[in-house]
Symmetry: C2
Subunit: 371 residues, 2 copies
């Protein structure tokens, strides 16, 4: 009987996966710190919300949550294809980019394969690399917080990893690799290598600064409605890649995994360019506010092409302590984990009111660590 029974053992590969939580959520922090209603500037969610058209569409369709979403996301992919100038067959929709990270690692890496990235870049790619028993090779950021493309190319050639991950703009640094340098990396790929180009923040980048052409057989570009479109909770991301890769994904992906509300909202958002342009403009003003805030405190900040800014605090220990202090004061922000920005905090651009409040709490919490 069950008294003597034990849970069966997982497969050896899964049993060997370390316990990692890529990101601690504000809800978890609120439970830990007992502070509901935190100033929520830590997850690069949009403080400007979804488009009013998306909100109206979600409200209108709320009773139809009883229907499964279209497993092919056909209307959404069609709208994206028209906008991007590619084919529906170049597009696959996932439950956010994280879902696509899992899919791409699973598809191309066998246990024992190697993936290459910048140490301390967006954590979820590395999380899935570990979870599939794949070896992670990293190179450090440059001393200015930029991605070191030369180092990526060097290791990609010498050690021949199956997959190279580049978040551009990068998270958590906010830095951007110019398209010429990305093209150099792309052109340096060995024939069987995949470049995962995570463009979660592409909407904040002037279009002429994005890698051309859109399509390359060895590049999988990932984009999302989580950031400029303000739909992080709706879990809608997509990959742009070769149709043959889409067909492979099709054989292993979760067919009914995309929630209907998210499809509806994304589709409605695509019809509201003016709203998204307004968000992008306001985010640019917000970045300037944060640069100015840092400067007023005699601190460095990192120029960003995203909806967040890294602000220098001091040493890694000082920045960690400062983050803790902000949490206790009801402010949720995060920070880079790796040098050279591990002495910085990362703060999402909020509304003007949120930025003012953040500046006040920042000033109150600030312990000068440099003269």
């Amino acid at each position: 009987m069950s008294a003597n029974r034990k849970p069966p053992a997982p497969a050896p590969l899964v049993a060997a996966v370390p316990t990692t939580t890529p990101f601690v959520a504000p809800e978890v922090l609120e439970r830990t710190y007992g502070a509901p209603g935190m100033l929520r500037l830590g997850a690069n969610e949009s403080s400007f919300g979804p488009s009013p058209r998306a909100i109206a569409a979600m409200r209108e369709e709320a009773p139809r949550n009883s229907w499964y979403g279209d497993p092919e996301s056909y209307e959404l992919r069609s709208a994206l294809a028209r906008r991007l100038g590619c084919s529906v067959e170049n597009l696959i929709v996932g439950s956010g980019i994280d879902d696509l990270h899992s899919l791409v690692v699973r598809t191309f890496c066998a246990p024992g394969s190697t993936a290459l990235e910048t140490e301390g870049t967006y954590a979820t790619f590395a999380y899935h690399v570990a979870a599939y028993g794949v070896r992670l090779r990293t190179v450090p950021y440059r001393s200015d917080g930029g991605v070191d493309v030369d180092a990526l190319i060097d290791v990609a050639r010498r050690e021949q990893p199956k997959m190279i991950y580049l978040a551009n703009p990068d998270n958590p640094s906010g830095t951007f690799v110019e398209p010429e340098a990305v093209a150099t990396l792309r052109d340096a790929l060995l024939p069987d290598q995949v470049l995962v180009l995570d463009e979660a923040y592409a909407d904040f980048v002037p279009p002429e600064k994005l890698l051309q052409p859109l399509l390359d057989p060895q590049v999988i570009r990932m984009r999302t409605f989580s950031k400029a479109y303000g739909l992080a909770g709706a879990r809608i991301g997509y990959a742009i890649c070769d149709p043959q890769i889409v067909r492979t994904f099709q054989n292993i992906r979760q067919h009914f995994g995309i929630n209907r509300n998210g499809q509806i909202a994304a589709l409605a958002s695509l019809e509201d360019d003016a709203f998204v342009r307004g968000v992008v403009d306001e985010v640019e003003r917000g970045r300037e506010d944060y640069y100015a805030l840092a400067a007023r405190h005699g601190l460095r900040s990192v120029r960003s092409l995203t909806n967040f800014v890294c602000i220098e605090i001091g040493t890694k220990a000082e920045a960690n302590a400062f983050l803790e202090d902000l949490l206790r004061r009801g402010v949720f922000v995060r920070k880079p984990s790796a040098p050279p920005l591990d002495g910085y905090i990362r703060v999402t651009v909020g509304t003007p009111a949120e930025r003012t409040k953040f500046a006040e709490i920042f000033a109150a919490a600030r312990t000068p660590v440099r003269a």
Copy 2:
């Protein structure tokens, strides 16, 4: 340059996965048959929609789709734990049961492992088994359309598959295995075997007919808000299992994969028992309508403890042709793929108006195949 480049090859295991679409969606059929607004009785979605409280909560929270959902689904798991009489640590939330199927196969089966199920049962478990390179062993249904528990036990002992899958009530047959028989299967498990007990339709079963106790170290029970709760599109399912298994899932699962709208809706639904009871009662009346419809046409039907009923048409070829005919007449239903019910169609319980319309179209489409 890219002119000579080709998409990189997937890992061998993924390259070997066959192209399978577990279910063709009504949206796909509408595009194929050019008939928007089909009578949608094929995917066992609830025609009774979500609870009005869930609809109100989703509408209220629509602007907050810009926030990620809580990656721990803590409030929802807490509410479920209170209701079920278990601990939060016994629960994991997934983007529907399909997501949990993928997770459980990935966790326990290495490539080359074997999983056991009834031939023709819910297709998505087998889909994930194939997609992870796991061998599928099947036993047929009994001649009455019931799951053959004795045969499952026999093969489970002799061939020692890592995992045994039982959908109870079963989909697509609608049949139910009494709890005593499920307990016999559970008690026959070898020490390292996992019983995946897919209880997607448990809400339609009288509570005293569900397997006791709720928890067993070797049993992973899966439930969903997709059926009686009318939230298929919101993608919220959960597994009830040993905390050690939950911790293993935690190491490889998609942490921010659960959409916020779905969490909100599920939580609000749990506060509206009267609504769900009303749905369950109406579904029971609907099943009786379908039994009577079949009888009026001199056809057999299968007693069901779900929100759908299988109705006999004739041979497999005749049932396939009849299904096609219904599709052309604007009715979306599906049918079992395997004997003994491959000559039946499977129709979801609709509203009274939908049932009346279905009965009319059924009569018009019906070509007598038996005297």
